[in-house]
């Protein structure tokens, strides 16, 4: 199974007066797994359904390799798709579900049996093939849906929130399996998810969407290290980044009466300062007061108050300040993020 590159050129979609996707340009390399990440209603699923051929784009072009395909019926696009609800056909056995795409292609029966069994074995569901979807577990349904998508050896695999109906425990296991399978098969894949941990864990590159617009398209490391704007900064990383609104001037960040010294490279004038909880500590110089302590197990999450803002700090489990206790906030100077008034990243 070989992948193919996917290119979206000035793609857009409106439903009546509602703009679901503003102009989108995006390239997915052959064999790559790209995640579309964003809150609900951000346009990520709309984009996926346009690639699948369920929705007609309002404008723009879609290419698979060099072939322009946005006008083609889904069946002529050679894509496999897994849906959030799995969307298995409830009246058919898992075997028939997986066999369905092949039957539609008029594949000979012996070949169907062979391919279905092979794909099912790959996903570990060969022992439940004679059951109907309602008679197997959620995890098996999910694999059944994946098998149905993969059995026709598609050039592009589309995954629409494929893990969100699974239990937390199986989910972590399943995301590793899907990733390994995808790499083994080398099939170009697009994963739609609202779970940033899932996107970071599985994808080669992540496209972050908000309100119908692409916010940033980068590797997971890049998203985490250098978020392009305030939205990405808040959405990627857990617990989320602390963002303080204030004014930059003369090497200082002023927020009301509070002044924080900041390293070089900051903008001048109003803007925001961002610091991740894991890049802050309680060994610094800025006097703050503890608001609440949450025990996470390996670490503790301490919320402290600076002026009117709450800041969350990840500390070692041995550090347990009591609510109301005065502590001293510090941070790694090379890990602070600056954003201008419009929320766009400034500097490194």
């Amino acid at each position: 199974m070989r992948g193919i590159s996917v290119r979206l050129k000035a793609l857009s979609k409106s439903f009546g007066k509602v703009v679901a996707l503003k102009t989108l340009d995006l390239d997915v390399k052959a064999g790559e797994l790209v995640a579309f990440l964003g809150p609900s209603g951000c346009g990520k699923t709309t984009t996926l359904l346009m690639i699948a051929g369920i929705y007609q784009p309002t404008g723009g072009e879609i290419y698979f390799g060099d072939r322009r395909i946005e006008h083609l019926h889904p069946r002529d696009r050679d894509v496999g798709m897994v849906f959030q609800s799995y969307a298995l056909y409830p009246h058919l056995t898992l075997f028939e579900n997986v066999a369905f795409p092949l039957r539609l292609k008029r594949t000979p029966n012996t070949e169907i049996t062979e391919k279905v069994t092979q794909t099912a074995a790959l996903l570990g569901i060969e022992h439940v093939l004679d059951r109907r979807p309602a008679q197997v577990s959620g995890g098996q349904q999910q694999r059944g849906a994946l098998a149905r998508a993969l059995v026709k050896e598609p050039q592009v695999l589309l995954l629409d929130e494929p893990l969100s109906n699974l239990d937390a425990q199986i989910r972590v296991q399943a995301r590793g399996e899907i990733r390994r399978l995808q790499q083994d098969l080398g099939v170009t894949s697009i994963l739609v998810t609202h779970d940033q941990a899932e996107a970071l864990a599985m994808a080669d590159r992540v496209a972050v969407f908000s309100t119908g617009e692409l916010q940033q398209f980068a590797t997971p490391e890049e998203l985490y290290r250098r978020p392009a704007n305030v939205f990405v900064a808040r959405f990627v990383g857990h617990p989320p980044m602390n963002l303080l609104d204030g004014e930059f001037a003369n090497g200082q960040f002023a927020m009301g009466d509070v002044r924080i010294p900041v390293p070089r490279g900051h903008p001048e004038g109003p803007g925001s300062l961002g610091i991740r909880p894991e890049d802050a500590n309680l060994d610094g110089e800025i006097p703050v007061r503890t608001v609440v302590l949450e025990t996470l197990g390996r670490e503790n999450l301490v919320t402290v108050r600076l002026g009117t803002a709450d800041i969350r700090v990840l500390v070692d489990q041995s550090i347990r300040p009591k609510p109301g206790q005065a502590v001293r906030l510090g941070y790694k100077p090379d890990r602070v993020h600056f954003f201008d008034q419009g929320g766009t990243r400034i500097g490194l």
Binding site: G53, I54, R75, F83, Y89, P90, H91, R148
Partner: protein
């Protein structure tokens, strides 16, 4: 019955009391059909087979029983099958596709459903005569099917509305056309609805009286309901035979109802289980 708590025993008694007129009517039908004479509900004389002689001989200038029987069977089956075919396609389109005038069409269908069909009899009479379909079974079949469609369309739309969109999308991605999807995925999943609608229309057509009575005159085209009516319109009605024909006419309905009640219950709950 012993398990029934006292409060429910009372409810049962009240319900039986309300059903008494109907129950006694049914009892009268069976008794009158089976015995020589019946005074009230008390049979007089011996069990009489002569009331059932319509089964093997033509009675009083009427056609033999097989004529209205076959007509009624054709009428009911063609009507119910057409209703199921047409409503399921129309309902799928309404439920799943967007086309101009969809809302208006839905409203129109609903109005037609509420419209009293009897008030259309005269107009339909002219139309049938114009088309050369007056006094034909086909004509009545067309009229009955049309009048049953609004209910069928709304009913099936309810069933199709329950199908998941993602499943349809999956089917399209799997390589199905809309038409294959309709036949292979959507229809099998609304099977309870199809069976319910089919049974319902079959019963409704089997019991239909006013349409055949208005639009059919030749005895060769009589349906069972009309055949039964001929016994009432005589100067000296033979109540014994009238009752026997009544029982004979009701029998298929009872049998079908017993087989089909599971599906019919679906209509009233209106759900579809994946």
């Amino acid at each position: 019955m012993a398990l029934l708590p006292p409060r429910w025993r009372l409810v049962l008694i009240v319900l039986v009391a309300f059903c008494l007129p109907i129950l006694s009517g049914v009892a009268w039908l069976f008794l009158t059909g089976s015995f020589d004479r019946v005074h009230g509900l008390i049979p007089q004389g011996s069990v009489a087979l002569k009331n059932w002689r319509f089964l093997w001989e033509a009675v009083g200038g009427r056609p033999p029983i097989r004529v209205p029987l076959v007509n009624s069977i054709i009428f009911s089956i063609v009507v119910s099958t057409s209703v199921v075919l047409i409503s399921s396609m129309a309902a799928y389109a309404i439920s799943r596709m967007s086309f101009p005038g969809r809302r208006m069409y839905l409203g129109l269908v609903l109005v037609l459903h509420a419209f009293p069909a009897v008030s259309l009899l005269i107009a339909i009479f002219y139309i049938l005569r114009r088309l050369g379909l007056f006094d034909t079974l086909l004509g009545v079949i067309l009229v009955k099917t049309t009048l049953e469609l609004p209910l069928g369309i709304w009913l099936m739309k309810g069933f199709f509305d329950f199908l998941s969109w993602e499943m349809e999308m999956a089917a399209l991605v799997d390589g199905m056309s809309r038409w294959t999807l309709f036949r292979k995925i959507a229809l099998p999943l609304v099977r309870p609805g199809l069976l319910a609608l089919w049974t319902f229309s079959l019963l409704s057509a089997w019991g239909e009286f006013i349409l055949p009575f208005t639009f059919i005159v030749s005895s060769q085209n009589f349906t069972m309901a009309m055949y039964l009516q001929t016994f009432l319109s005589e100067a000296f009605a033979d109540f014994g035979m009238l009752a026997a024909v009544g029982v004979f006419y009701a029998l298929p309905v009872v049998v079908l109802f017993m087989i089909g009640q599971r599906f019919l219950l679906n209509i009233y709950s209106g759900g579809v289980k994946g």
